[in-house]
Amino acid sequence: MAAVASEVELVNISINGVALQVPKGELIVESVKRLGLEIPIFCYHPRMKPVGMCRMCLVEVGFPGPDGNIRKMPKPQAGCTLPASEGMAIFTDTEQIHRDRKGVLEFLLVNHPLDCPICDRGGECPLQNNTLFYGPSTSRFLELKRHLPKAFPLSKYVTLDLERCIQCGRCVRFTEEISGDSQLAFRFRGASMQPSTFELTDFESKFSGNVIEICPVGALTNREYRFRARPWDLETKPAICTVCSNGCNIWFDHRAGRMVRTNGRTNEAINEEWTCDRGKFGHEFYNDSNRVKHVMVRNGDALVESDWPTAYDAIRMAFAEGGNRVAALTGPSNSNEDLYLLKKLFQTRFNSNNFDSRWTTYLPTAEDDLQKKMGVSMVQNTIADFESMSKVFIFGSSLADELPILFLRVRKGWFNNGNKVVVASDKPTDADSFAAEVLRYRTGTESTLASGLLALAVEKGLAQVPDATRQSLSKYTAEHVSDETGVSVDALHRAVELVAGAGIITSHGIFNTSQPQDTVETLAGLAMTTNGSFNCYALGANDQGALDMGVVPFGGGMDTHSILQGCIDGTVKALWLVGCDPFELHPDYDLVEKALENVHFLVVMADHQNGAVPFASVLLPETAPAEQDGTFTNMERRVQRMPQVLAAKGSAKPAWRVFSELAIRIQPETPPFGPADCMKEIAESIPSYAVADYANLGGEGVLIR
C-alpha cells in the first residue's frame, strides 16, 4: 500500500479472502477498515489501549497449513486485541461469526433494561445499532432483570445509569489513559461491577464530558442535555468552541433556535476528538434570558429601546473629535473580521490608534516585541508538535485550566512516547502528576528562576551565549536562585538537563506576574541557545487573532490601562467596549468602575448583559460567535471558520457589520458585503493571512506562520 511509509514492516494477510498488506502488529479491527469493512465493537476505542472486555468484535482466524489450505483456530478471537501477523486469514462474515455476535449481544442484553424510549442515547446508541444489525430479534431470558439505581448524579455534568452499563470500561480507561485523573474505576466484581468514583463522591474532572460521548450505551448521560431532545430532532452543525484559545472543533446541536448541546468533532491537529468541560458545557449562555437583543439609548437615568440609525448618529457625534479623545477595548471572542474592521474604523474614520485587546497587568509595548528584539516568534509550535517532542517545559501555567486541550496533548506525549515534562509553577497543577521534575517557586520569582536555569545551562555548556550575556547572568548562581525561589539546587541541576532543548510552553497569563518581560525574554533566549522552541500562548478565544489583526495601540495609541486612566482624568471622552466586560477582564476593579462612571460617552456592545451595561450611553446588541459567520485564530495561530449556526437574537448585528455601516455613514466607500469580503481585505493588508481564504478554511483550518 502506497500510503504506508516504507520503513514500516508489512505482513500479508487476507480478510474474507481478499489479500492485503498491513503494518505488522496492526490490530485487526483497524485492518478491516482498509477494505471498507467494519467489525462491531463496544469496548475498543482507537485512541485508547485495547482491553478485549466486551467480545463484540469476534472474528474467525486461520493460518495456511502445510497443504496450503487455511486452518481455522477452533475458537473465535477478539479482533480488537489481535495483532496482524504474516499469513493470517481473517473471516468477519461467516455463519459462525454471525451466531457468535448474536450470542454476545443476547448476553449483554440479559441485564440491560431496554428503556430506549426514554433514553437520551436512543437513536445514536452503539448498543442499539449493533443489536439491530447483528443481534437476535428475541431474548430467551425470561427471568427478572437485575435492578440498579437509575439517574444517579455523579457530578454536575454527568448522570450515571447503572442498569444500562455494559461494563466495557471505556469511561474508566478514559480517566486513566487520556485525562489522567483516574477518577473512575470499576468497583466490586462480577454482576455487581459498577464504574464509579471513589465511594460515589463527586466526579471531579476537567474532562468528564468526554465519557458521555464515548460510553457506547446510555449509562453516562449529559445532565444538561438530559431529556431535552431526541437526537433525530436535532440539527447538527460543525462549529468552533470559543471558550478558550485552543479552538476545539465541536458539533453544535440546536433545535428551534436554541443551543441544545455540543459534542467533540474530530480535528487531528487540535482536539483529536476530545473537549474539555469548560468548553463542552460552556455554551449555555446562548439560551440565557439575559441576552442583549435590542439597541438601547440613554435617556436620563434609563436606557430606552431605540434603533440602529439613532445609535449610529449618537456615536458619530460623540466620536467626532477622534484622535486621543476616543478609544475602544475588545474582548476575547470577537472574530478576526470584527477586529479588523474595528481597527480600520478607528484609523480611517476617527484618526485614532486608541484600541487594545489585552487585559493583563503588564502590557508589552511595541519595543518589547520578541520578533524585533530577538528575531523569534512568540508562537513556534503547534499543539500536535508536543506529542513527539521529547522534552517539554511548562512554565508558570496551570495548563489543564488555561489550555486544556494542549494539556491533553502534552500528557499524551508522555503517556505514549515517554516524553519528559518539567513543570515550573507557584501552585500545584494537574501536570505535576506526570512531570519528571516539578519546580515549585515562590510567587514573584519567575524571572529569577528563568535566569537561573539559563545561567545553569550556560555553566553546564548546554547553551552558548555571548560574553555580555554571560556577564549579566553571573549573579544567578544556583545557590542564589535557590534561596530566592525556594527551588532546591538539586532540582535545578536535574531540571536544567531536561529544560535545555525543550519545547517551552507559557501563556499570556505570565504577563500578570512581576517582571514578565524579563521572564519571557529569558525563556525565549533559553530556547534559542539550546535549540529548543519557545511559545507564549494566548488565552482568550481570539486573543491571538486580535494581535494578528493589530488591535494593539502600537501606532502611537494608548493601551488598556492608559485608556481607562484617560477616562478618569477626562482625556478620553468616548469609549467603545466591544464584546468585553472590563469588570471581569481587568485586574483593577476600582479603576474600571471610576473609568466607566467618568467617561462622557460609553458604547457597550455586548451579546449578553454585563457589568458595564448600567454605565452605557448606548447599548448595542452584538451577535454571539455562533450567530455570525467569521474566523478565529487559535493559540497555535490556526485560522478556522466558525459558520453561522443560530439566527441573530432580536436586532443584534455582527460587530463587523456595525463597524462597516458606521464607517460608510461617516465617509462613503464600498463596504464588504460579508465576512468573506472582510477576509479578502485582511489577506491583502496582513501578508501572513494571505493563505486564509474562506474557500480553503475547511478541514483542519489554516496555519499562519
Binding site: 440498579l148 448524579p153 477518577q183 474505576a185 466490586f188 459498577q194 471513589f198 463522591t201 463527586d202
Partner: protein, 204 residues
C-alpha cells in the same frame, strides 16, 4: 462502604477528601514496612495489594474508605483505582465491618456433599447472624465462601489463616469457645502474617 449505589441520592455528591484532609493512621512500623515493600516493585502501582494488607491490619481488620484513601495517598494512586482493587478481592474486608474473628464456611461442591450446610445452619443458629453479618458484641463474622482448595478436609472452615476440617457440630462449640477466650483478633493477625510474607519474599 455502600455495596451498591443507593436510590434517591442527593443531587450533588460530596467531594472526596483532599490530601490534607486525610486522617492518616498508619503507625511508624506500618510506614517503614510500606517503604520497604515499595522497593520490591518497579512502580508504586504494584504495591497496592501489600499496601492494602498493611491497611487492613492497621485499621483493625476492615478496609473502610479512609483506609483505602490512606493507601492511595501513600502510593500516589487515585482513590478510585485503589478502591477498585480492594473491592475486587474477597479477602479484603471492604463490604462490611468484620468482627474480631471471621469464620468462613466453604459451601462449594465437596464440602456441600459432606454436610457443609448442616455446619452452616448450626453456626447461624449458634451465632444468630447470617451471611456477611457480625454478632452484636463484635466478636464473630460469618461468611459463606467458595472452594478453599482443601476438599480432602471437607467440610471445611477458615478462621484467620487457619483451616479447620473436617468439622462437626461438637467441634464448632469448642472452636467458638476457644476463639472467645482469645484476646487477639484472628483477622488482624492474618493480615499481619500476610504482610510478613510479603516482606520476607522480597528479601530472598
Amino acid at each position: 462502604m455502600s455495596e451498591l449505589i443507593q436510590v434517591g441520592a442527593p443531587n450533588q455528591r460530596p467531594k472526596a477528601p483532599r490530601a490534607d484532609e486525610l486522617n492518616l493512621r498508619f503507625s511508624p512500623t506500618a510506614i517503614s514496612e510500606l517503604e520497604a515493600l515499595k522497593t520490591h516493585y518497579p512502580d508504586l502501582k504494584s504495591c497496592v495489594l501489600p499496601g492494602l494488607w498493611i491497611a487492613q491490619r492497621e485499621y483493625g481488620g476492615s478496609l473502610n474508605g479512609e483506609a483505602i484513601a490512606e493507601v492511595a495517598h501513600r502510593l500516589e494512586r487515585s482513590y478510585a483505582e485503589v478502591e477498585g482493587v480492594a473491592t475486587f478481592y474477597s479477602m479484603y474486608n471492604t463490604h462490611h465491618d468484620v468482627g474480631r474473628h471471621k469464620i468462613e464456611v466453604c459451601t462449594c461442591l465437596s464440602c456441600h456433599v459432606n454436610g457443609a450446610y448442616r455446619i452452616w445452619d448450626y453456626l447461624k443458629s449458634k451465632l444468630g447472624v447470617g451471611n456477611k453479618e457480625t454478632t452484636p458484641d463484635g466478636m464473630f463474622t460469618l461468611e459463606e465462601v467458595e472452594c478453599l482448595d482443601a476438599c480432602d478436609r471437607a467440610p471445611l472452615l477458615q478462621i484467620g489463616d487457619q483451616y479447620v476440617g473436617p468439622v462437626t457440630e461438637a467441634d464448632i462449640d469448642r472452636i467458638l469457645a476457644d476463639l472467645r477466650s482469645k484476646s487477639d483478633s484472628t483477622v488482624v493477625q492474618m493480615a499481619d502474617e500476610i504482610v510478613k510474607v510479603h516482606l520476607r519474599d522480597g528479601n530472598k
